[in-house]
């Protein structure tokens, strides 16, 4: 079964994994719109888990996928990028110089939704309509489109869950993270409707993934592969007329990173893709930090809804530690020798 048949409906798990490639400061424009910026920080993690009985399932996905169903989804990824060494991570072939061939990631890329804002597109929005016509919009239009997409996707960010993580709703999937040499770095999966994603690799294996204490590890010069299913397992059961957005959690507020949507008239339900951080992440964004993000997808007039919230441990070239030490040292010297109270001869009696 060809992955080319699937559009960008790969579930919120994939969307959350996309947060880094969508990390474009140009898109991250702050506004005064409470819909975009004011995310309540006090929402407890428990409230993020959608209750199928109360919220509706929004699809036909089982509450928990069985191993056979998961294997069927993963097989489509391995068909594109075989797991040559059997470690559970799809492997990139080597290029002529013996390094990982990042171009091979293109084998996984699906087609973008017609309302998607292309990440890292040099401040422009590339829109492809149903006739295949390409439209490139300027920065202002990009920001406006992002805001529109946030509203279309429910305008209900309320997703921040303190230090926890969540992926709730009829969107399930798996993500693999690699370092710049193509070596496995982290892996997490969520194959249930309401449970949080689970860490499958490294020291935190078996525990909840994407939390602030166990963030998903990502190399800013590496890449991430993801696959997901949304709506149902059957062909044509994917969410129609869907819209989604991603927000970066920043200083207690949210900033829109990326947004998109698609009519998905065929109801395509799966997606697999890759995030080429080495080539697509702006150099200025390749920092050492733990970042949080929220995402949401809504479709079919709100009957379909997936929400996600989590943290990524980004290892990049820019380490703020040394500049921070330098600033602290300068401040300490200034406080000691330039801001301390001083006795002066003030007169005589």
């Amino acid at each position: 079964m060809s992955l080319r048949r699937y559009t960008l409906v790969g579930g919120l798990f994939g969307i959350v994994s996309l947060l880094l490639v969508g990390f474009s400061p140009r898109v991250a424009a702050q506004t005064d719109d409470p819909c975009l910026d004011n995310i309540p920080d006090e929402v407890p993690i428990e409230d993020l888990s959608l209750d199928p009985a109360k919220d509706g399932k929004g699809g036909t996905l089982p509450s928990v996928l069985g191993s056979g169903e998961v294997a069927g989804i993963l097989a489509e990824v391995y068909a594109r990028l075989p797991d040559a060494d059997g470690d559970g991570f799809p492997d990139l072939p080597d290029d002529a110089e013996g390094n990982p061939d990042f171009d091979a990631l293109d084998r996984l890329l699906g087609e973008p939704g017609v309302r998607d804002i292309s990440p890292g597109e040099n401040s422009n929005v590339v829109t492809i309509d149903e006739d295949g016509a390409v439209t490139i919009q300027a920065t202002d239009a990009l920001v406006q489109q992002a805001e529109t997409q946030v509203r279309r996707s429910g305008c209900d960010p309320g997703l921040i869950a303190g230090s926890g993580s969540a992926l709730s709703g009829p969107c399930m999937g798996m993500a693999w993270s690699y370092d710049k040499n193509g070596l496995p770095l982290d892996q997490a999966a969520d194959w249930s409707f309401a449970n949080a994603p689970v860490d499958l690799f490294g020291d935190g294996a078996g525990s909840q993934a994407f939390t602030s204490s166990n963030p998903f590890r990502v190399d800013a010069n590496g890449f991430v592969i993801y696959t997901g299913v949304a709506g149902g397992l059957e062909l044509g059961s994917g969410p129609r007329d869907h819209d989604w957005f991603l927000q970066l959690k920043l200083f207690g507020t949210g900033t829109t990173l990326d947004a998109g949507g698609d009519p998905n008239g065929a109801g395509e339900n799966r997606n697999a893709g890759a995030v080429n951080l080495r080539d697509d992440l702006p150099a200025a964004a390749k920092i050492n930090a733990v970042l949080g993000a929220n995402g949401q997808m809504e479709a079919e007039g709100g009957d379909f809804r997936c929400v996600g919230s989590g943290f990524v441990d980004l290892s990049g070239d820019l380490d703020p530690t040394l500049p921070g030490v330098a600033l602290a040292a300068i401040a300490a010297i200034g406080l000691l020798f330039n801001a301390r109270p001083a006795l002066t001869w003030g007169g005589s009696k």
């Binding site: 970066l248 050492n288 970042l291 200034g334 801001a339 301390r340 109270p341 006795l343 005589s348 009696k349």
Partner: protein, 79 residues
């Protein structure tokens, strides 16, 4: 008659150095991944830095004058 000293304080300087201190501490904490960027902790650290700077500038032990007191001419010629 004896020369007296007065204490000169620099709260503005203290606040400025406090901002720098807070930014520095926030950068270290972010870089060492002790705090996440989603929280308000970086802003809290900057505010704490400002508070430390101002309090230091107001209440730290005062430095002694660098030079001895200079008597005024009228003092020298008094009586």
């Amino acid at each position: 008659m004896t020369a007296e000293t007065t204490v000169k304080r620099h709260p503005i300087r203290g606040a400025i150095y406090g901002v720098v201190l807070g930014i520095g501490l926030a950068l270290v904490a972010v870089g060492r991944k002790m705090i996440t960027l989603d929280s308000i902790m970086p802003i809290v650290l900057i505010v704490v830095g400002i508070a430390v700077g101002v309090l230091w500038a107001m209440f730290a032990p005062a430095k002694q004058p660098k030079n001895p007191a200079v008597s005024r001419p009228e003092e020298l010629t008094a009586d």
